[in-house]
Symmetry: C2
Subunit: 338 residues, 2 copies
């Protein structure tokens, strides 16, 4: 496939090392030398295949990160953290989004673009354990997110049941008694382990509050619009919640918008808690109370697991790693006034 | 570097085309055949270098997109649109963020990771024309965003002066007379073409409104926090605006938050207009009026220019392309009540 590094070095009359330095954009090359090497590169139409450092180990220096949706700021913020963490290990991130579709998640996890990536960090929605077990090759794969799998891969996710319980406990501690859950899946059979919903149920039981299933709103998606629609549906059917725990911040923000539109006061009439701690919740005109997963740790741990497997520890036992989380109380929750 | 496609085909006892089909994950391969080829691939440790399709043309099938910040939903939404547009041309997107730093923008535009990308779409902040003129190689580069350059590259951006004038005209049409601008750069010398600020000035003059420079707030960044801080600074120095035009939606949302915290009513006391039309502005408890650039067109045009240059039209004249925009009036702006 055309010219080699050596050809370039010969034509430019410099060492292969110097060409490699230019190609890798190392800072200690003089502009004149850079110019000279670049001329030879252009003349030969040379295209370096791999950076020298990764090349020696047969790597590309690229980790793929596949998320369901970039439009959700949680994933955008997480992607930013992964890019920064990867850069500290001299890796670049190839970002892909799957729209949360099983077909796309299979494609990504089974090695789509495998020729340019060394490892994969995947936050799946619909992927099944059987898909993971059928995965070809042995490129490192680290899973993120709520879904639980019985497959030999690292999985980094906060304890979603416990975190959801913390959110509901915050609401019951404020005297709230009719606590709704927004964001159940319509087809529960396809996702038995809906951990945040389970946390809601468990905590209501622990607090001695009845769990009235009319207070659970199923949704098709996980965006602002879905949160607003679910809130309206709950109110339309007369569920009369005095608090709402939403699957994520976007849905919580959509729900707040719907409540305000109907003349209900947040937090007095209905208190609202989200999940994710995206920046927009902090700056909302009614600042949002939320469960804040440690996104920096999630990103750092994911990259470290991939890099560890690429650099001498491929036989590492798959691990279930649980980063921390905190409840951040802001203006959208307040005590019930009788 | 190890085994070839041919070696794999030989060991598996199938055609090179079949191996290529498996490697590229094409759907019309039976599971048994996929298994058979995969065994040979694993046995030989074969690593495909390029997908067959791009390989024939010496390409990797990857376009890089470099944006200043993924945490800003405008860029996250734009990235989603670019990924979709690229997929329609069978390209994957390598996403990088530059933090808006000249050093990082130079690195990216001068061919960092050039070995894995066919072309680059860059939204620069601090990059200078001289940096672009010194760019080595001839990989397609398309520029996005507000900065204007005198360099031979495609540049896709809405008419920022005209769009800013539309926003200010909306406010003056509502009877607003003291219209502030949030988001000027502190070091104006480094960015003479601050187009949105220029649009603000021009439209105030056209409307016969005085442009009181105490109504211009400089900021260090372009986030929610910067908008809130700038708004507070304006109010602290007694500037008494009855309207605010912010550089972008994030700053507008931060400004609204600051206004509400100080007991001012939006839109009655102070009307607010943003720029970008990010989804969160639509769902804010006070829905945000904004200038909405046609993000889908920007993404589509950027990808099309890169692909056109890669497929037979490398000598295309560089073009300045101006996608459309609209003003979307929502709840954050209303007529002045005397």
């Amino acid at each position: 496939m055309g010219a080699s590094l050596k050809d370039v070095a010969q034509l430019a009359g410099v060492s292969v090392k110097t060409v490699s330095n230019v190609v890798n954009n190392y800072p200690h090359v003089t502009p004149a030398m850079r110019e000279r090497v670049q001329r030879a590169i252009d003349q030969l139409g040379y295209r370096p295949n791999l950076t020298a450092r990764h090349l020696r180990k047969g790597r590309t220096g690229i980790i793929a990160l596949a998320v369901p949706e970039l439009g959700n700021p949680y994933f955008a913020e997480l992607a930013g953290a992964v890019i920064d963490a990867a850069a500290r290990h001299d890796y670049t991130v190839l970002l892909d989004h799957t729209a949360g579709l099983r077909e796309k998640e299979v494609l990504v996890s089974h090695g789509f673009r495998a020729h340019v990536i060394d490892g994969l960090i995947l936050s799946p929605i619909e992927l099944e354990t059987s898909d993971l077990l059928a995965r070809p090759g042995d490129a490192p794969l680290v899973l993120l997110g709520e879904r639980e799998y019985d497959a030999p891969y690292d999985h980094i996710a906060i304890d979603n049941v416990a975190a959801a319980r913390t959110a509901v406990r915050h609401l019951s501690g404020l005297g709230r008694q009719r606590i709704a859950f927004l964001g159940a899946r319509r087809e529960m059979a396809r996702q038995p382990a809906h951990l945040r919903l389970r946390g809601w149920r468990e905590e209501l039981a622990a607090a001695g509050l009845p769990h009235d299933e009319t207070l659970v709103a199923a949704t098709d998606g996980y965006g602002r619009w879905d949160g607003a629609a679910a809130m309206n549906a709950l109110l339309d059917r007369g569920a009369r919640p005095d608090a709402v725990f939403a699957y994520n911040d976007l849905m919580a923000l959509g729900a707040m918008r719907a409540l305000v539109e109907r003349g209900l006061r947040v937090p007095q009439d209905v208190s609202v808690v989200g999940f994710d701690d995206v920046e927009e919740g902090r700056f909302s005109t009614i600042a949002l109370t939320t469960v804040s997963p440690d996104k920096q740790s999630i990103a750092r741990l994911a990259v470290e697991r991939v890099v560890a497997r690429l650099t001498g520890a491929p036989q590492l036992e798959p691990e279930r790693i649980r980063p921390g989380y905190t409840l951040v109380a802001r203006e959208s929750t307040a005590p019930r006034t009788a």
